[in-house]
């Protein structure tokens, strides 16, 4: 097996780093090998997901000219709602980070669950604003059947929304598992994987608000 001892600068984590994301370290030694495998496996899956989004981004750029005389970015996008959604998602990344720390350093589940519920509410809030946004767009004639450009928008942004939805469902399922089993090793592995997903949700959103909203509105 590959070596786990590497020289690290003093300010970084001292637990051996076995997988991407926050490592729980030696105090959570039980199932560490399984965790390494499962979190790495999820990391690999995230890579293929990133490629899907990357191709949809490239497709979006390529379809910018396909407005077919219909509404374009400046007609359909609103900076205010994009900003609100961005802030919600960014804060939710931070709150998930706090949840991860609670998982690593606390034995009770109360603080962990609170941070997770806050994250869930932020995620649902994001979805609420996004759906409201789409509704407004439809009202302005921004429906995918109108043009290739709008189709490209609706193939990229709702896919991200679907991923947020999936993450929220997964988070609810994990909260259910915590209620039934407490924070056992299965739950820990699930939370570490969901953390990776959640942070990637925000990374993809950085691409979306930069390229689609800010790029389109400027």
């Amino acid at each position: 097996m590959t070596s786990t001892t590497t020289h690290r600068p003093a300010d970084q984590a001292r637990s051996p780093v076995r997988h991407p994301g926050l490592n729980l370290g030696p105090s959570h030694q039980e199932s560490e090998d399984v965790r390494e495998e499962m979190v790495f496996g999820f990391w690999v899956f995230m890579m293929s997901d990133v490629i899907i989004f990357g191709l949809l981004f490239a497709t979006y750029v390529v379809m910018l000219g396909g407005t077919a005389g219909g509404p374009g970015p400046s007609d359909l996008f609103e900076m205010k709602s994009a900003f609100i959604e961005t802030m919600i998602l960014l804060v939710s990344s931070f709150t998930f980070g706090m949840a991860s720390l609670a998982l690593k350093y606390r034995t009770d589940r109360k603080v962990l669950v609170i941070w997770l519920v806050v994250t869930l509410l932020l995620g649902l809030g994001f979805l609420f604003f996004e759906l409201k946004d789409f509704h407004t767009m439809f009202g302005k004639g921004g429906v995918p059947s109108r043009s290739g450009f709008i189709s490209a928008f609706f193939s990229l942004v709702p896919l991200h929304g679907l991923h947020v939805t999936g993450a929220c469902i997964w988070l609810i399922a994990i909260l259910g598992q915590i209620a039934v089993y407490g924070v056992d090793s299965f739950v820990k592995t699930a939370l570490l994987r969901l953390a990776i997903l959640w942070h990637f949700l925000d990374i993809i959103w950085i691409g979306i608000f930069s390229l689609v909203y800010l790029g389109g509105l400027s």
């Binding site: 590959t2 786990t4 590497t6 020289h7 690290r8 300010d11 970084q12 984590a13 001292r14 780093v17 076995r18 997988h19 991407p20 994301g21 490592n23 370290g25 105090s27 790495f40 990391w43 690999v44 890579m47 990133v50 490629i51 990357g54 191709l55 490239a58 750029v61 390529v62 379809m63 910018l64 000219g65 396909g66 900076m79 900003f83 961005t86 802030m87 960014l90 804060v91 990344s93 931070f94 980070g97 706090m98 720390l101 690593k104 350093y105 606390r106 034995t107 009770d108 990776i196 942070h199 925000d202 990374i203 950085i206 691409g207 608000f209 930069s210 390229l211 800010l214 509105l217 400027s218």
Partner: protein, 115 residues
């Protein structure tokens, strides 16, 4: 006992990891406010604005990878970093290739699709 008895090393680790998330959040906040600010209120030329937005986005993605996902140059298993770098390479090839090919096609065959 809700707070685990942390050894001295663990306590230091907790502080540094919490700081990592805090820094990640603050830097990301800044890297979000800057492009939004310029786009909403600024007076830059279009190219300068686009470069600012793109630059802030790329840096913010790296911030997320470093401070939230703890991906560093040396600290990880080799394969974790290898995979994200390979993914970036494939994105550049496929994404860049798509743009190069499609815009050449537009120029030569479908000028109406040029944005």
């Amino acid at each position: 006992m809700s707070q685990r008895e942390l050894s001295q090393e663990e306590a230091k680790e907790f502080v540094s990891e919490r700081r990592s998330y805090a820094w990640g959040y603050l830097l990301s906040l800044l890297l979000t406010l800057v492009p939004f600010g310029f786009a909403a209120f600024g007076d830059l030329s279009r190219m300068a604005l686009w470069l600012t937005i793109a630059g802030c986005a790329l840096v913010q993605i790296v911030v997320h990878l470093r401070f939230f996902l703890h991906i560093t140059w040396s600290g990880n298993k080799r394969e974790d970093l290898q995979l994200i770098l390979f993914t970036v390479l494939i994105l550049l090839i496929m994404g860049g290739g798509t743009l190069w090919i499609l815009f050449s096609l537009y120029y030569r065959m479908m000028p109406g699709m040029m944005p």
